[in-house]
């Protein structure tokens, strides 16, 4: 061991170097976001809770009930039932999305040929009741208020 190394060891240069880094952090500004008090704005593409879009003028649901989203879904969490409506057109009777099974991959949004189902930036999904995970058509339609104004498809 050379003299230089002995001096370095005896003067604790390496430790002091480390201490200086943490010392700098001690006085520097903190990165913590105190979550419930302040919330970060998520990015526009964020894949959160789903929403079904409806025509703003007529209030008619965009979804055709084509089953594409239900078929592509890797976790099989979407359930759609359709029937012939009074006007002879296909109507969506039942649209259920089980959030407890959803993996938030965004495939449903990607394959939808009508931009009817989209993902919104809503990420606070914790709940006391498992029933809240069953997103019915009404809940999904209500959630469209949270959607981004500009829909960014792929």
């Amino acid at each position: 061991m050379g003299l230089k190394k002995i001096i370095e060891k005896a003067t604790f240069v390496d430790i002091i170097k480390g201490l200086s880094v943490t010392g700098k952090y001690f006085v520097s500004s903190k990165v913590t976001v105190e979550y419930p008090k302040e919330k970060l704005v998520v990015r526009p593409r964020y894949r959160g809770m789903h929403a079904l879009l409806s025509n703003p003028e007529t209030g008619e649901i965009n979804c055709d009930g084509c089953q594409l989203c239900a078929t592509i879904c890797p976790s099989e969490c979407i359930d759609i039932q359709t029937s012939e409506g009074t006007d002879g057109r296909k109507q969506v009777d039942y649209f259920n999305l089980d959030l407890g099974r959803c993996v938030f991959c965004g495939f449903c949004e990607e394959v939808c040929p009508r931009a009817a189902i989209i993902m919104t930036p809503v990420y606070e999904l914790a709940t006391y009741d498992k029933d809240d995970f069953a997103l019915t058509k009404e809940k999904l339609l209500a959630n469209q208020d949270n959607a981004h104004k500009e829909l960014r498809g792929r």
Binding site: I15, G18, T22, Y25, V27, S28, V31
Partner: protein, 334 residues
């Protein structure tokens, strides 16, 4: 009679300060740990999170007190006290002001117990605390705990000798084992204190003191990443809390001893500042040392147990001996 009253008052005050400091130290530890990690630490309980430790304590007290089925019950229950009590006894040795201060016309010594062999007493008490760890780990009947207590034993034998020897140089200079006398010998400004002539001894003692406190980088007995929680693995509720509190009380005591032996005890760093009462300086020094301990803990990794033994036997022991001989020669020549 009046001396006894003063003694009781002093003892109660000390106990109150010692115990009362612990929640705040735990709070500071968590807060500072946060600051060192660019976090903010606890913020919710009370202003700035200051009541966090009280909340934790309430939680610990209300938790179930478990004794593992195959544990050695009495020893298991006793062990936390073995760790918890000695620091309080050691606290009585620390002088926090000059002797014979005039209070309401009475001469009062600003120390609870002025032992002639105070330093030996401190070393003895600090060794007893190890039994708390060893017995606690052994009686839990858990292999991780056992390893933790074994490490603690191995750790103790490796640093205690160097620690004791490092003090001898200082004792030669002071010419006394009494802490009161040692502080009196350090009269003057901060460059007159013992840390400067005894720099080697001071360093060895400081590092050994960290090992004594089981704090990082020497927190081997409770090394979380290796031994789950070491000797504390099986402890729950307030018994675990006693270990935790004991650790912080000993931190106060050891810091106070370091301040007393090497940093002038209750004396002001400059004589012109002597008008400020001694106990304020003492508390200031203690807090500064505790801050340094926290800073080190939250910066460096942990040694391996055989490396600590290597340091104790192969580095510190020879250094302490050299320091001792050098001090003896210089003192006898001058």
């Amino acid at each position: 009679m009046i001396e006894f009253v003063f003694l009781v008052v002093k003892a109660v005050l000390f106990l109150a300060v010692g115990v009362g400091m612990v929640p705040f130290l735990i709070y500071f530890e968590r807060k500072f740990a946060g600051f060192f990690q660019t976090r903010v630490g606890p913020t919710y309980a009370g202003p700035g999170g200051v009541l966090q430790s009280f909340g934790d304590m309430a939680k610990l007290l209300s938790k179930e007190d478990l004794t593992p089925a195959w544990a050695d019950g009495p020893i298991f229950r006793l062990a936390p006290y073995i760790l918890f009590v000695p620091p309080f006894i050691a606290m009585t040795l620390i002088p926090f002001g000059p002797m014979g201060v005039d209070i309401f016309g009475y001469k009062v010594d600003m120390v609870i117990a002025n032992f002639d062999a105070g330093l030996i007493m401190f070393l003895a008490l600090s060794s007893i605390a190890v039994y708390g760890v060893v017995l606690g780990g052994w009686s839990s009947n858990n292999r991780w705990s056992l390893l933790g207590s074994l490490r603690s034993g191995a750790q103790m034998i490796s640093y205690e000798i160097a620690m004791g020897l490092s003090l001898v140089g200082m004792i030669i200079m002071a010419g006394s084992l009494s802490l009161v006398d040692i502080v009196n010998q350090q009269a003057g400004n901060f460059w007159d204190w013992f840390w400067l002539p005894q720099l080697v001894g001071f360093t060895i003692f400081f590092v050994s003191a960290i090992a004594e406190l089981n704090r990082g980088p020497f927190d081997l007995p409770e090394a979380e990443q290796e031994l789950v929680a070491g000797y504390m693995t099986e402890y729950t509720g307030m018994r675990w809390g006693m270990y935790m509190m004991g650790e912080y009380v000993s931190m106060v005591v050891v810091s106070a001893i370091i301040a007393t032996l090497y940093l002038g005890g209750w004396r002001a760093p400059l004589e012109v500042l002597g008008f400020i009462p001694g106990f304020i300086w003492l508390i200031g020094k203690v807090l500064a040392i505790i801050f340094l301990l926290m800073w080190i803990r939250w910066t460096v990794p942990r040694y391996r147990y055989n490396q600590l033994m290597d340091i104790g036997w192969k580095v510190f022991l020879p250094l302490a001996l050299v320091n001792l001989v050098a001090t003896a020669v210089i003192v006898s020549v001058i």
